[in-house]
Subunit: 363 residues, 2 copies
Amino acid sequence: MYSKIHVPLGKASYDIIVGPGLLTELPAYLNKLQASTGYVIVTDSTVADLLGEDLLKMLTDAGFKTGLACFQAGEASKHMDTVVTLARDLVRLGADRQTCLIALGGGVVGDVTGFLASIYMRGIPFIQIPTTLLAQVDSSVGGKTGVDLPEGKNLLGTFNQPCMVLADIGVLGTLPASEIRNGIAEVVKYAAIRDLPLFHLLEQKAQDILALEPDNLIEIVTRSCQNKADVVAADEKESGLRRILNFGHTVGHAIETASNYSIFHGEAISMGMCVAAELSVQKRLLTGDNANRLKGLLKSFGLPVIIPASIATPERLAMLTKSDKKARAGRVHFVLLKDLGETFITADVSDKELCMAIETNAR
Amino acid sequence: MYSKIHVPLGKASYDIIVGPGLLTELPAYLNKLQASTGYVIVTDSTVADLLGEDLLKMLTDAGFKTGLACFQAGEASKHMDTVVTLARDLVRLGADRQTCLIALGGGVVGDVTGFLASIYMRGIPFIQIPTTLLAQVDSSVGGKTGVDLPEGKNLLGTFNQPCMVLADIGVLGTLPASEIRNGIAEVVKYAAIRDLPLFHLLEQKAQDILALEPDNLIEIVTRSCQNKADVVAADEKESGLRRILNFGHTVGHAIETASNYSIFHGEAISMGMCVAAELSVQKRLLTGDNANRLKGLLKSFGLPVIIPASIATPERLAMLTKSDKKARAGRVHFVLLKDLGETFITADVSDKELCMAIETNAR
């Protein structure tokens, strides 16, 4: 019923456990891990009510010295002020260098808590308990933490690995369907860039997955984490190979920015992957049939494949894409597909080509 | 005329260059290091006027893409708001993941800039150019960065190593004598904990050093950095050996706290070393003669060996010492001397013993 992925990063290695009902087994995992003598659960206002208070009681009843620090739910909390306020909460709760944080929540909670753990008293350990599908398949691996500045997303942060990740697929039932779609987009990404068998599984089991059938959920979360772990282990600090994880994200981020983050990350990535597939077709790397298979898969999960005209003109999206912060010496690298499951990275995409690919996927 | 210390920390290894007039040779060092394509000098309002603007012009004239970001001088700037403001300056100056920061200033500049470098876009390189004796002998090695919270000093920070340190002893001539004394206290510390020849040198050359005679300055800065580098290389994350660097600091921090940081760090450390020496005598580890030699050396540099009654009662200082944040599981570890140049670490110091040692060194 459970699966385990080992993320091999030398001294920073850790395990991801995927399964149903893991939250209730946390005390046993903490005893096994022996990461600390005291714990502080860090979560947001939504998850605190749903899961946080119960977890606090469970850990306290099990004899662990445990505290809880909570911040307002929402993307706006991904801000340095939140980190400083939480740090002051930690001092108040008596957290010291031996304290271990437990990040309980979605992507924002993981990003903020991982960052806090890397700077509180110059670094304390943390455990991730991602409670959204997106966080389970994506944020569990990679060690990226951070907060936003008014000038851009994730401009302040660190690379910091958790000492354990528990992906309890049982908690996904409490999420709205839109949150599930949001995570599926990243699963499709892993399938498209390096896992053709996963692509087939998604094509065959879309309805079971959307119905949150446990075995299929465990399978797609595990395979996604394994794919990401393979890539990250080979390139921890994001210099080369890791770029393939940006498939769909280059244009996707531009769409998110243009929409002022009013649409889900997964939706933006879905549209971004369609543009990347179109560019791949234009460059005669990918067949039109395979591009259509990718779009069909995204559609079967209810993900958008067309960029609404209301978000921005193709020209503006192209401009925003080219000013991405990941540009090296001013050049944006595009992750294209040379087949389903195989990538090709190039900076050789003209403004005109980019515009044309966006237009083809816009209303 | 120059000396070089290699700090061996695997991938994070770097060199410290000590000598006169190094600032004017920065362009040559940057060409050799090839750390980046663009630089931002980070400094405070005092140093910007004295050295920063000139350095900016020199680097720009030498063809380096260079910017300058400046914050208000003083301990109060060691705050997360300063880091966030500087990060926004970096965005405005076009700094990206390839930009290298140049920390130009004393301890606060080094701490803040090193921290900023470790979190800006999840980490960019930085060069240290310490402009006070204290920063040259102490902050150049160790990789400790950080800012304060209202609840305590350095509660937020990272371990982050510079890619090079240039300790230009020529700039020390612009400092007031009190700033020189401030640095000497740390030099005496290295002598006392592990470098008897340095202890002898300090005893013989006190007047030359206070007159800023270059050869002696190079010698004491180099030996201090080498001593710290030896310790830090053996214990990068401060788990064991590195504790000996806290000689004089356990009680010293309590004195700083009690004085509300109105006295210099070096003065507090000087008094703290006297208390540690007294404890060592009480425990029959050190002879009274050697404790007096240490006090005599401190006095010869104009450093205080008696804690003024105006700062706090011995009881209050003892209480503050025992609540030091470095306490593990509630126990404070004291670094004592078993001879000049040799340490002995123990947590076995009763409140009464501590109070008595403080009282002996108080007015």
